[in-house]
Amino acid sequence: MIGASIATPHVDWLALSPALALVGVSGVTLLGAVLVPRWFRHAFSATVAAAGFVTAGVLGGVLYDRSASPTALIADSMTRDRWAALAQVVIAGSGAVAVLIAWGAKRRDHVGEYFALLAAAGGGMAFFVQAANLMTLFLGLEWFSIALYILCALDTNRAKSLEAGLKYLIIGGFGSAILLFGSALVYGATGRLGFHEIAASGKAHDPLLVVGLALILTGLAFKASVAPFHMWTPDVYQGAPTSVTAFMAAATKVAAFAVMYRLLTTAFPANRELWTIAVAALACASLAIGNLAALAQRDVKRMLAYSSVSHAGFMLLAVSADSALGGRALLYYLIPYAAMSLGAFAVVAARERELQRQVSVESLAGMGWERPFYGAAMFAFMLGAAGFPLTGGMLGKLYVFSAAYDRGWWWLVVVGVVATVVSLYYYLGVVRSLYMRPSQSEVAELRLAPAGGSPPRDPALVLAVAASLAVTVGSFVFISPLVRLAHHAAAALFA
């Protein structure tokens, strides 16, 4: 027998379970698209997808609990540690909320495919964050990216959606190619693929490796929409179905940053003088470009897209600190950030369904009084994104600033502070629209859209907003347990 001579590596199924759960769910949903009758397909797919994300989240939690010391999996191609497990929990949570946002959007076609792809993207991200060599890294990246390319273009009847899909495909493909090229150069320099092996190869100052590092960082920066590699973000965020945008804004950022931090700290510790400066420069670029461009946006989804670029800048501050405090700051920041962006896009989705058109800052006018719950929630998300207290956004900013200051880079703190002041204008612009702009003509015109003037009841969406709100505020009050989780997770990388 030929098979007997191949030594198969030991597979730790629990470590792979979050990704596998989502892959399985994706398959079931896809079968449902064929086998389940049309009238029941939406409820079936959505329920299965939601259950899949919840299961993945729980498995991630179990994995976190049982992975006190990091272990290598499957011939050192993957890692089982708390860093990945915590990121998986956040990704799974984001996916579950995204399913809730999508629940009430009555899709006419591609219902099964939609949820199948969402679960597949989540599975890809769960796989991606565990990557421990350049091959699995690229595999995971492509896995979730391809699912997202299709998801963006899924509203085939909307030109904007097709445009978004195409733009994301081309620019995303470009980013992936850069990353692959960088990986090839690093492999060429060291002859190794594993993160730890690259670090141990002692070729840190090989020009080939340095160029490869720069290219890999660039490829990841494309995914994380870090300026100046963010140009796809506003178009894609605006054009994609809002539930997909919400998922991308939250989960892709978590995945990309978790992997970026792991890669930089474990594979390239000897080049830290170099990449911390590069990351700091990217942070400044993101903060400047994201905030200034957001000032000029009228479309709320575009504004939130630039806001996510600026948040990428804040996260990079934590990455550039390259310390346990920085890792903790990054993981903590991601939690309220994910909740705030999911929640904000959920409110946008609510308004979109009510008005049946794209939501601009003007068309939010008076929403605070007409829809008190959505209005108050959006108010909280905007304040959180701006770094006001009573939301985790403020403490997240405090943490990343502390990490940067602790590294000795006080000037980064100053850049972050100035960026925050600029950002107030557009975040408070939304609040102004919610509460202080009656704009009768606009309101009178809008009233025509929904029949009877009252929007359809959408308990799933309310639940999505409520969950996001609970995390946004809860991460302020109960920061201590979250930081402890982040602390243990970050310890895995600095062990």
């Binding site: 405090l325 903790r328 009084w369 108050a376 304040l383 006001f388 207290p389 009573l390 403020m394 403490l395 900013k397 405090l398 943490y399 600033f401 502390s402 200051y405 602790d406 006080w410 703190v413 100053v414 502070v417 100035v418 925050t420 002041v421 107030l424 204008y425 408070l428 609040v431 102004r432 509460y435 202080m436 920061i479 201590s480 930081v483 602390h487």
Partner: protein
């Protein structure tokens, strides 16, 4: 425990008002009850306070330990007085809101209660990050209150106000991070002193914006004239005192070196602000602008006292903070009532209101006498202590202060004569009702507080920094 109740009672009431669908009128009632319960709790606390002691009524819980941040609240003598000012002024402002019957009452009363709680939180904080959280939390309700219930140019006013304040706050956040990380704790009690001028400047500018001090006062007039009057009363009467608290609790004890280094600059700016504010107040066309610029002058005077470097000056600054809070609250509320009754606050269209309105005339005249610091009033005592304190730093400051007292008399008498006397304005009807009993209920308590303080100003000035010997107080273990 008392401090925690004082902070969270109004916030809890705000949550109830927002979330529970109360019948019309109930939310105002609930706000009213909560606000006066707050005053009651404070009075109870003040009665049992040991004015010779250190930090009292304190409570401390870890918030997040890895950066050394804790929920730590408590009162010193001076901060107890500031908190007392806050609960009294906020309670009467809420009473004013109930009297006016603001629309969207649930949102309105919830915000007023939330504001009350966060102001008390500022005065009680003993941890830098908690202080920052409350300091910022104050801004949220003010922003909405001005932006929704304010005057015709309210949106522009909120934008200027928020941008000024947040620019200051963000500098402060940078300073807090720098201070906290280098001290390994954010606790105001446990941390030592810093010699870093930049960190000090971050704090000082944030407080200078909040007060406001001279070059940072651009938001002042629009915010004070476009706010609803009761919010203007809280803004100028109480919120500006967050700067006083910050200077006394953070700047003086934590940055003794930088304070000495910048003392001259700050004193000169304060003296200029005092003269400038008083001069501008004299030329304003309406009641609220006069009070706004008068506030700029009075806050500058308080800062003179704080940076006088002597115990006398500090005692005077605390006393005068309370005085100014009460006086500007009463003036803004009266201005609101006049605007409501006659439709305008412009001097050109007012006048002759005293005829047939003895109560209005008496109350406005009395409040005016306190504003111009007539000898025998508590304001006179406060200004006297400040000027005596700052005299050691140079007689010039005291001379400016004394000149400003004359200017204060001029602008106050101008307000009084423009509203009450002179030719009858076109908006003032010949026969119109005087202040009614419900209006009196709102302003009389403030006047009574002022009269009581005039009888015994030492209640505040002699009971602010108890138990400390020497020229400057020690707060929570760190002696500058």
């Amino acid at each position: 425990m008392l401090t925690t109740i004082l902070i969270f009672l109004p916030i809890a009431a705000a949550l109830i008002v927002w979330t529970v669908p109360l019948p019309r009128g109930w939310s105002g009632g609930l706000a009213f009850v909560a606000a006066f319960a707050e005053v009651g709790i404070w009075v109870g606390g003040a009665a049992r306070f040991d004015y010779g002691g250190d930090l009292q009524y304190s409570a401390r819980h870890n918030w997040f330990a890895d950066l050394g941040v804790s929920y730590h609240v408590g009162f010193f003598g001076f901060s107890l007085w500031l908190a007392g000012l806050a609960v009294v002024v906020c309670a009467l402002a809420i009473a004013y809101g109930v009297w006016v019957d603001r629309e969207r009452e649930r949102a309105y009363h919830g915000l007023m209660l939330f504001l009350t709680g966060s102001i008390v939180g500022v005065f009680a904080s003993q941890d830098l990050l908690l202080f920052y959280a409350f300091f910022e939390a104050m801004l949220i309700p003010i922003y909405i209150l001005v932006g929704v219930w304010g005057g015709p140019r309210r949106v522009a006013a909120t934008i200027t106000f928020v941008i000024y304040t947040m620019a200051g706050s963000m500098l402060m956040l940078a300073s807090i991070v720098a201070f906290g990380i280098s001290q390994h704790t954010f606790s105001l009690v446990d941390s030592g002193v810093s010699r870093n001028n930049w960190i000090f400047l971050g704090f000082a500018i944030a407080f200078a914006v909040k007060a406001p001090l001279l070059p940072f006062h651009g938001w002042l007039r629009a915010a004070y004239t476009e706010s609803p009057p009761e919010v203007a009363a809280i803004l100028s009467g109480v919120v500006s005192k967050a700067a006083v608290f910050g200077f006394i609790r953070i700047a003086l004890p934590k940055f003794p070196g930088p304070v000495d280094h910048f003392r001259g600059t700050i004193l000169v700016l304060a003296a200029l602000g005092l003269a400038y504010g008083s001069l501008l107040a004299f030329r304003q066309p309406d009641i609220r602008s006069v009070i706004a610029y008068s506030s700029l002058g009075q806050m500058s005077l308080i800062v003179l006292g704080i940076f006088a470097g002597s115990r006398t000056g500090l005692d005077g600054a605390v006393l005068h903070s309370v005085n100014h809070g009460l006086v500007s609250a009463v003036m803004f509320l009266l201005a609101g009532m006049i605007e409501r009754d006659y439709g305008t606050g412009e001097f050109a269209r007012l006048g002759g209101a005293a005829k047939g309105r003895p109560i209005l005339a008496t109350i406005l005249m009395t409040a005016g006498m306190f504003t111009l610091a007539v000898p025998g009033s508590t304001n006179f005592a406060g200004e006297f202590l400040i000027l005596a304190g700052v005299f050691t730093q140079g007689w010039g400051y005291a001379a400016v202060g004394a000149a400003a007292m004359v200017l204060a008399a001029m602008y106050t008498l101008r307000v009084i004569s423009a509203v009450l006397h002179e030719r009858r304005g076109d908006t003032v009807p010949e026969r119109a009702p005087d202040l009614r009993s419900d209006q009196l209920f709102i302003v009389i308590p403030l006047v009574v507080c002022l009269v009581a303080l005039s009888v015994w100003p030492n209640a505040v000035s002699g009971h602010s920094f108890g138990g400390t010997q020497g020229s400057l107080p020690s707060l929570g273990g760190t002696t500058p």
